[in-house]
């Protein structure tokens, strides 16, 4: 049987002995008992607390509110003397505190504070001291006085927690911690829990978003084998340990503001509002309630941002708040609702924070707030911020493209907006995806650059209705750049041909894409990937083999992959034509021979006709010349057919091999941790290093 249950049973039995309906103006033993044990339940949320108080009131035969008015309101201070007076005064203060916690009445809190002050001369008793500082801490919160709140919590620690925890440990060792004689010492696990909730939950409910940093030490101590350390008294599920764990992890990790508790609580609070907004988005779409929740979340992030004193803190806020922006644009696109939301945050702002972080990469990065974390965590923070910048950029870009389809009259405007957003990510990418700083980029940044480059191309060449010639050129170039980043997207090869067709330059295709095919064929990164049998090595090897054939490259640009069946049918037709041509040559050869024979018998021999092979013919008759010409034509035709057959027989199966990477782009889009992202990173830097080396030379 656990301790809580034993306490509850003991308390119930004790109270049952005294249970009687309390008449107005007399002490209720039931309420006295419940008020003495109020530390067990006083930090419950208002709804649960009210339910409890209602239940206790039913048991006592009088509600707490009425009991407080009838008994404490007039009689108690004069009714008892000595220690009983002290007990009644404390109970009265607790009763008013409970009313305040249940219904938020500031008057009740003031009365509670006024009452507990009467015990200022008896704060040597831990129980009095606990309630005194606990009530005063609530009062400080109600008044929004963070400094006073901090002082009261410190007092609680110094005058209650430390003195009783030594005794509690001894009693606990002897299994006496829940003995009725152990007094307030038995309350220690609840004292820990109540202080934890006061500091990390109540302070936030009351909107204290400043000057809580000194309490970081208290939070760390509470987490260190105190809160949650007594599961037989407070079950783990009912304890705030899990939340404390998140807080301490944040304080110590890279999502901190150099250990600021104020910042950490503000960011966690913003996260809670964000989760609520997400829940509403899933249930209601872009409803008014959801937008209100989104505004609250954004406001909370803004508070956290203002509290951030370091770039580390700013990075932590941007990493989270960019999701709000991305989610909003994705929802607008998905739900086809154009909801407006003023945002104090922007992608440019996030890029600015990233630039600051990146600027110190080779030097004093610790001074940006990462003093107490290893370099890996600083790099990880940069990578996570990057991921959010890339995802938000892609979401916003996609949104504009979808708008250009839905609003044909504004197609050009929307397509250009989309191109601008994608283009900004590309600029960001090319600025920072350098050899010396590549460790600050996530692997997925390279595929995102492909998506952005393809997005610019699509925006200017497919979505814009009247692109300028300059835009057509830029779009074509971005398609080519996209293919260089991710050459395994078969859709893009014919898109380049089509784009070149927009300005009548299809003939440029081979010259434009040859370097891409060559890069795939010669890439050491791909070679190593295949040799080491890394994920999807087989699929990539098949594409590489295919791209080594220049005719396959032409197929990639000019054939439609959906019509491979037609191409195969054409091959079979070609074989039939070849057989027919061979038969024709045979027939013509025979005919020529017959004509020669007949010519030899009728006329004297003559030299061969030029270009012909009519050996032994004398002066060729017209018939013989015609046959000879037909034979020559048929032989040339056969040669062409042989060449076509040979090329197509070789290239068509290879072209079919390029189907191997179909779907890979979608896989990479869905999984930002897909292993092939690493290959794309290596391929990009291999290419960039080579280009830079060439420039130097």
């Amino acid at each position: 049987m656990n301790k809580v249950f034993r306490i509850a049973v003991g308390l119930g039995l004790a109270l049952a002995l005294f249970a009687r309906a309390a008449a107005a103006g007399t002490e209720s033993q039931v309420w006295s008992g419940y008020l003495d044990y109020a530390y067990v339940y006083s930090s419950a949320d208002a709804k649960s607390l009210n339910e409890r108080l209602k239940g206790y009131g039913n048991e006592a035969g009088i509600s707490l509110e009425r009991y407080v008015n009838d008994y404490f309101g007039a009689l108690a201070p004069h009714e008892a003397e000595g220690s009983d007076a002290e007990n009644q005064t404390r109970r009265k203060a607790i009763a008013y505190l409970l009313l305040y916690l249940g219904n938020g009445s500031a008057d009740s809190l003031e009365t509670s504070a006024k009452t507990i002050r009467e015990l200022q001369h008896r704060l040597d008793r831990h129980e009095n001291s606990y309630w005194y500082h606990y009530i005063m801490a609530h009062r400080a919160l109600e008044r929004g006085n963070a400094g006073e709140f901090v002082s009261e919590v410190f007092d609680l620690w110094l005058t209650v927690v430390v003195p009783i925890e030594a005794t509690y440990a001894t009693l606990d060792t002897l299994s006496l911690s829940d003995s009725p004689n152990s007094g307030f010492v038995a309350a220690l696990p609840y004292v820990y829990e109540n202080i934890a909730r006061l500091v990390v939950l109540r302070s936030q409910e009351k909107g204290i978003d400043h000057e809580l940093d000194p309490l970081g030490a208290i939070v760390r101590m509470l987490y260190d084998n105190r809160v949650g350390a007594y599961p037989d008294v407070i079950p783990a599920a009912a304890s705030s340990r899990a939340y404390l764990e998140r807080i301490v992890e944040r304080l110590n990790g890279p999502e901190s503001d150099e250990g600021s508790l104020t910042f950490t609580l503000a960011l966690l609070e913003a996260g809670k509002h964000h989760e609520e907004a997400r829940g509403l988005l899933a249930k209601q779409g872009l409803s008014a309630d959801m937008l209100r929740a989104m505004r609250t979340a954004t406001g909370a992030y803004e508070v956290a941002f203002k509290r951030a004193g370091t770039v580390e803190g700013q990075c932590a806020v941007y990493t989270r708040v960019l999701r709000v922006i991305g989610e909003l644009y994705a929802a607008r696109q998905r739900l086809n609702v154009d909801a407006e939301l003023d945002m104090p945050f922007s992608i440019e702002g996030a890029i600015g924070v990233y630039a600051t972080l990146r600027g110190s990469m080779g030097g004093e990065w610790k001074k940006l707030g990462y003093e107490n974390v290893p370099r890996e965590q600083y790099l990880d923070a940069m990578q996570r911020l990057w991921e959010e910048i890339q995802e938000t950029s892609l979401n916003v870009g996609d949104y504009y493209l979808s708008r250009s389809v839905k609003e044909p009259a504004r197609a050009d405007e929307m397509a250009r907006n989309g191109a601008r957003v994608y283009g900004r990510y590309l600029t960001f990418f090319h600025q920072y995806a350098t050899e010396d700083g590549k460790e600050s980029l996530p692997d997925s940044a390279y595929f995102a650059a492909f998506e952005a480059a393809k997005g610019v191309g699509g925006a200017l060449l497919s979505y814009a209705q009247q692109p300028t010639p300059g835009e057509v050129r830029i779009g074509t170039e971005r398609y080519r750049a996209a293919l260089m980043l991710f050459p395994f997207d078969r859709e893009l090869w014919p898109a380049i041909t089509a784009a070149l067709g927009r300005h009548g330059q299809q003939s440029e295709y081979a010259a434009l894409v040859r370097p891409i095919a060559e890069h795939v064929v010669r890439s050491r990164a791909i070679q190593t990937w295949i040799e080491q049998k890394e994920p999807d090595a087989d699929r990539i090897a098949r594409v590489r083999r295919a791209l080594s054939d220049s005719e396959v490259v032409l197929y990639m640009g000019f054939a439609e992959s959906t019509k491979i069946g037609d191409l195969e049918h054409e091959l079979s037709t070609l074989s039939s034509k070849r057989a027919e041509a061979a038969r024709e040559i045979d027939r013509l050869t025979r005919k020529r021979d017959e004509l020669r024979k007949s010519t030899k018998s009728d006329a004297p021999a003559a030299p061969d006709a030029p270009g012909g092979d009519l050996d032994g013919a004398a002066v060729p008759s017209n018939d013989l010349a015609d046959v000879a010409q037909a034979l020559s034509d048929a032989q040339a035709q056969l040669l062409r057919l042989d060449q076509q057959l040979s090329a197509r027989t070789r290239a068509l199966p290879l072209y079919k091999e390029t189907l191997a990477t179909d779907g890979l782009a979608e896989e990479l889009r869905l999984r930002r941790d897909h292993p092939v992202h690493t290959l794309l990173r290596r391929m990009y830097h291999e290419l960039r290093s080579a280009a830079e080396a060439k420039e130097k030379n």
Partner: protein, 175 residues
Amino acid sequence: MNDSLVRLALVAALAVTLGCASKTYLAKDFGRAEKSAEEASPTGGPTLDQRRENMTRMYKDLVHFRTSLRDSQERGDRTTTNALALFIESYMQMHLDPLLDGEWQSRHPELWALDADLRLAKADVLIRMKDTGRASKTLDEIATRYKGRDDMLVHYPMGSESPLGKAIKLLRDGV
């Protein structure tokens, strides 16, 4: 301006700074929670265990104080640093110093290592609080109590081990 006036001005400025930051906790306000160490000097059993637990808990508390002080100082947050310093000062006066008063735990084979760790942690925190005078006194006391035992391994710097003599030297260098 003569030296006395300068000193007086500095003391006054410090008093104002501390006074503005927060209230001061004084042990006499609450009575001493701990008994004098010599009065309760166990030789074994549960009381010794309790002492060990108290010392271990306080050592961990000092680690948390040090972390919090370091963070606030790195943030350049003087308000938090001052508030923490006052709290820690009260903690030491009310709870830690009475625990460290006695001689016996520095001689008890089951506690002396922990006792030394605790005193070093206290000196470390005092240095963080820029109370170099008390840090120096604490180190002097360690040197006296553990005279001739410079090779004893202690947990300093926090998170690692080193001989006591080296730990004292490292801390003195920081004073």
